[in-house]
């Protein structure tokens, strides 16, 4: 899937690198014991450390270290047994210490990879440059008062993993796929909930363009803090086209930080390179270097869950699913668990079909996730069983599915209650056929006169007569026999 921009003079390729800030799933902050619940009252989750009070000192939260290592392992990355926390110095009202504790030249995780499965079936490997731990800042609220800014320090000191990709992506679609895949891995690992709308996962996109075939990278712009995957893709496309326009009109792109405005779909300059902060990084003397041994890493590795790539491979080999179906089913861990519950001791292809074609569509329409599905995996499995043992037809099953969705009941109860059991006895079907033939002597004549296509009409009529419950095979067989001249 190539994404190229045809300009006046050249065909342009876009080069994208992403920096993702993923909030570490942990009960306490990176360097203090304050809690991290989302949506708490302003300034209700702030320790003296988070507020930058005089004489306060940071102490590393080991859970956050473990989560970072776990994530590094999930990204098949180099784990650095020795890393260093540094101070990144800048002034802002919601940065109480006047510096952010981050990691600079010695991050906890080094190079890794993420594999993207693009819709056209092509796999793309995207390099991870590094992952480091850092503190989040607080939040400035500018719209509560005409001249004042309010500060909420609940987020101050919350642990973030900054995950930096190599500039390996070549289209907005790949950027979107990267974010979805990364989010999927983080959720599998339980190291970040990936909720972009809550700010638990935020993305900065570095974008540049170059004429197709050109070696080396041109000047990039960084689009800061985009808060949905769709907006990231839109912002990249807009920014790439802006670069092309500038180059083709003889201009130069200057390195700068830009902001995406989702209202008009444009990016605009935040600060130029000249205005860029000099962060004056230096190792934080309040903290010792972060050091652990290989056994520590091995103990975390031992608890790693099966990740989407491995699970997809297993679904293909174990259940005989197509790569596409397997890929869809493993995106969310919860979905894969649901599928496996449904598929247990049943036809896995039928299970995949019901989950993907019917359940996903319905849940999408209702705007709910699989964990809130009114149909449990157990009940969906039972529904498939009813088809398999000929209790109901596939067509009736779809009606039962709709009722299950609405009422949340088990399929057995619904079939029983509504009398939807399939009719396989010859008698009632023959009666219905007789009735239809008696009511439509003309049609019978026409059929017998050679109009074979009318068979479909007769099937429909008899089905109608039996309330759709006639076993389709039986019905066909008997109808042929009766209509025969």
């Amino acid at each position: 899937m190539t994404f190229l921009i045809k300009g006046e003079t050249e065909t342009w390729e876009v080069v994208i690198g992403l920096e993702v800030h993923a909030q570490v799933t942990s009960e306490a902050k990176l360097f203090s014991g304050a809690p991290t619940y989302f949506g708490a009252d302003p300034n209700s989750q702030v320790s003296f450390v988070d507020a930058g009070m005089p004489g306060m000192l940071p102490v590393i939260n080991e859970i956050c270290v473990e989560q970072a290592v776990r994530t590094g392992l999930g990204l098949k990355a180099q784990i650095n047994n020795r890393s260093v926390f540094s101070r990144k110095n800048y002034f802002y009202a919601d940065l109480p210490q006047g510096y952010q504790i981050s990691q600079f030249d010695l991050p906890i995780v080094g190079k890794g990879t993420i594999v993207l499965d693009m819709p056209d079936g092509v796999s793309r490997e995207i390099g991870i440059e590094r992952l480091h731990l850092e503190q989040d800042a607080g939040k400035s609220i500018h719209d509560l008062h005409p001249s004042k800014t309010f500060i909420d320090l609940n987020r101050s000191g919350v642990a973030l993993m900054e995950i930096v990709s190599d500039p390996d992506m070549r289209s907005p679609e790949e950027a979107g796929a990267y974010l979805r895949k990364l989010r999927s891995i983080l959720r599998y690992l339980g190291t970040c909930n990936g909720n972009m709308d809550e700010g638990s996962m935020r993305c900065d996109a570095n974008v540049s363009v170059r004429p197709q075939g050109e070696e080396g990278l041109r000047t990039r712009c960084e689009i800061k803090n985009v808060n949905s995957i769709r907006f990231v893709m839109q912002a990249i496309e807009y920014e790439a086209r802006r670069h092309v326009d500038v180059y083709e009109s003889g201009g130069e792109i200057s390195q700068e930080t830009r902001q995406y405005d989702s209202n008009n779909g444009e990016t605009r300059s935040m600060r130029s390179k000249e205005m860029a902060h000099d962060y004056r990084y230096f190792p934080d003397p309040d903290l010792l270097p972060l050091v652990f041994d290989d056994d520590y890493v091995a103990s975390i590795k031992a608890t790693l869950p099966e990740l989407p790539d491995e699970k997809k491979e297993r679904f293909i080999s174990e259940y005989g699913l197509t790569a596409y179906d397997a890929g869809v089913l493993v995106v969310e861990r919860e979905t894969s668990v649901y599928f496996e519950d449904v598929a247990k001791d049943r036809d896995p292809k039928a299970a995949a079909n019901w989950v993907i074609s019917n359940l996903f569509g319905a849940l999408n329409k209702m705007g709910i996730s699989i964990t809130d599905s009114p149909i449990t995996a157990d009940n969906l499995g039972k529904l498939i069983d009813l088809i398999t043992d000929n209790t109901i037809s596939g067509r009736i099953a779809k009606d039962v599915f709709e009722i299950m969705l609405e009422e949340g009941k088990g399929p057995d109860a619904i079939v029983e209650e509504k009398g939807l059991k399939q009719i396989t006895d010859t008698g009632p079907i023959e009666d219905a056929i007789g009735q239809v033939m008696a009511d439509n002597p003309g049609k019978v004549e026409e059929y017998r006169g050679g109009k074979d296509k009318l068979i479909g009409w007769f099937v429909g009529q008899v089905m109608k007569q039996t309330g759709g419950k006639a076993n389709p095979g039986k019905l066909n067989e008997l109808l042929q026999k009766k209509l025969a001249p």
């Binding site: 005089p54 004489g55 306060m56 009202a93 109480p96 210490q97 000099d278 230096f282 309040d286």
Partner: protein, 491 residues
């Protein structure tokens, strides 16, 4: 009751134990001394009411057999330690009105042992200075004066208030902090014992930070024994400070055996530059003689990177300070001068809130960390710091302790060096290397200059070996027979 202020801390402790007097009497005597010595400006905040209240508690505790190690002993606390419910200023305008809702670990340890806080002692602003003159609250004065010279002298710094308070008998002991000599230099100037423990021995939690990799709390007392008693209570591992060491705290007082036979004492040649003050050179020689007489073996050693210590210190300390002081921004506590914008508020607040020396160090530190200069300054300074540390490690393979002068001069008149930062910085030339190496050091008052001012000798030992330091210091103290000021006395 005035004679109660003439007691050493250990004597007062023993007197309370024996019931010779009460904690209330002892505290009242010191409150009176604090009042009569107000001209020295050693306290920024006095808390006599709280002190009496605590003294009553202490007497009550003792009568119920619950006396702590320092039960009922009144102390001065450098105003760099956060004290719950008591104004904490760091001698800076920018902390106006800051009353912490928490207690530093070191002062909490003292409190838990029954010690009584008399007040918060003066210091150089944010502990940056060697004369106390950078205090927003005005310089503390040295209780000592030159013979025939009525001018007030500086007490040294930055823990000048604590040193002067102890020298003037306004408290039994005090605590200070030492970053590049801030305990040892004022102790030398005021004729008291000043002890900087190994970096990591005392928790830094709740101490207003100047230079995090160097700051270390320590006791300031009139005797070596008092120093050992106080440090034992102050020290200990604190999970809230990642740089605090999980090491057992020995019984330092028990280390005062008086026996140094066979110990090897090093004399670093680099500490005897051409032109070393002759009084100081002579005192150092005397010190060597006393230790030899006590059976120690004295050997010449070399600490070859000593000359780089001061420039290294003046990169590392300001660099860390430039970040540590960023939190004083007018947003959450202390002084705020309103401005047109956030940046304008920062600029106005920090311009008004910080004094000249603090601003100088923030600028030096910011420069040293800047893009393009980091490698040349900060990174190089860190490398040199390693070499200085290595000098000591090598030296301590052959010697048990090192003897040097504490300062290159005696106390000077207020105002004499205040317009010359370099000559001010040179005050710390003998104390800074040990700070950079993180090793313990102690200054013992050992004699008087020709114009009648106290002079200190400094002992250094390897990391975590404060016991040897106290042992040698005790011997030196006894041999020197230094007599401090009598109450409120002239030098």
């Amino acid at each position: 009751m005035t004679e109660l202020t003439q007691l050493t801390l250990s004597e007062a402790r023993d007197g309370l134990r024996k019931g010779d007097f009460s904690a209330v009497e002892l505290t009242q005597a010191h409150i009176k001394s604090m009042e009569t010595n107000r001209d020295l400006n050693v306290f920024i905040t006095e808390v006599p009411g709280l002190a009496i209240e605590r003294a009553k508690e202490a007497d009550h505790n003792r009568s119920h057999g619950k006396a702590g190690a320092l039960e009922g002993l009144p102390l001065g606390i450098k105003d760099l330690f956060c004290t719950e419910g008591i104004l904490t200023t760091a001698a800076s305008h920018i902390l106006d009105g800051f009353t912490p809702p928490y207690e530093s670990t070191v002062t909490a340890n003292l409190k838990a042992a029954g010690a009584i806080t008399l007040g918060k002692t003066n210091l150089d602003e944010f502990a940056m200075g060697s004369s106390n003159e950078s205090s927003y609250y005005g310089a503390a004065h040295n209780p000592w004066k030159r013979k025939g010279d009525p001018r007030y002298l500086v007490p040294g710094g930055s823990s000048g208030g604590s040193a002067a308070a102890v020298a003037a008998h306004t408290c039994l002991g005090a605590i200070g902090t030492d970053t590049g000599g801030s305990i040892r230099q004022p102790a030398s100037f005021c004729g008291v014992v000043g002890m900087k423990p190994t970096y990591g021995r005392c928790s830094r939690w709740g101490v207003v930070a100047f230079s995090s990799s160097l700051d270390q709390a320590g006791p300031m007392t009139r005797t070596v024994r008092d120093s050992a008693i106080l440090l034992a209570v102050m020290a200990g591992h604190d999970a809230k400070d990642s740089t605090s060491a999980d090491m057992p705290v020995p019984d330092f007082e028990a280390a005062l055996s008086g026996d140094i036979k066979g110990l090897r004492i090093g004399l670093p040649c680099e500490y005897r530059p051409d032109g070393l003050n002759s009084d100081i050179a002579a005192l150092w020689d005397k010190g060597v003689g006393w230790l030899k007489d006590a059976g120690a073996e004295v050997v010449d050693i070399s600490l070859p990177h000593t000359k780089y210590a001061l420039p290294t210190y003046y990169i590392v300390a300001p660099a860390e300070a430039s970040a540590n002081l960023a939190r004083y921004d007018g947003v959450r506590f202390g002084l705020r001068i309103e401005g047109e914008s956030l940046d304008d508020m920062y600029a106005k607040t920090r311009a008004a809130g910080f004094g000249a020396e603090v601003k100088r160090r923030i600028l030096i530190g910011t420069y040293a960390l800047s893009a393009g200069y980091y490698d040349a300054y900060y990174l190089k300074a860190q490398k040199v710091r390693q070499l200085i540390h290595q000098d000591f490690v090598s030296a301590f393979e052959n010697v048990d302790a090192i003897l040097t002068p504490t300062t290159p001069s005696s106390a000077f008149p207020i105002g004499e060096n205040s317009d010359d930062p370099i000559s001010m910085y040179l005050n710390d030339v003998f104390t800074v290397p040990a700070s950079l190496a993180g090793i313990p050091g102690i200054s013992i008052p050992a004699g008087l200059s020709s114009d009648g001012l106290p002079l200190g000798l400094q002992l250094l030992s390897k990391r975590w070996d404060e016991e040897t330091l106290f042992r040698v210091a005790g011997v030196l103290e006894e041999a020197a027979g230094f007599s401090g000021l009598s109450i409120g006395g002239e030098g």
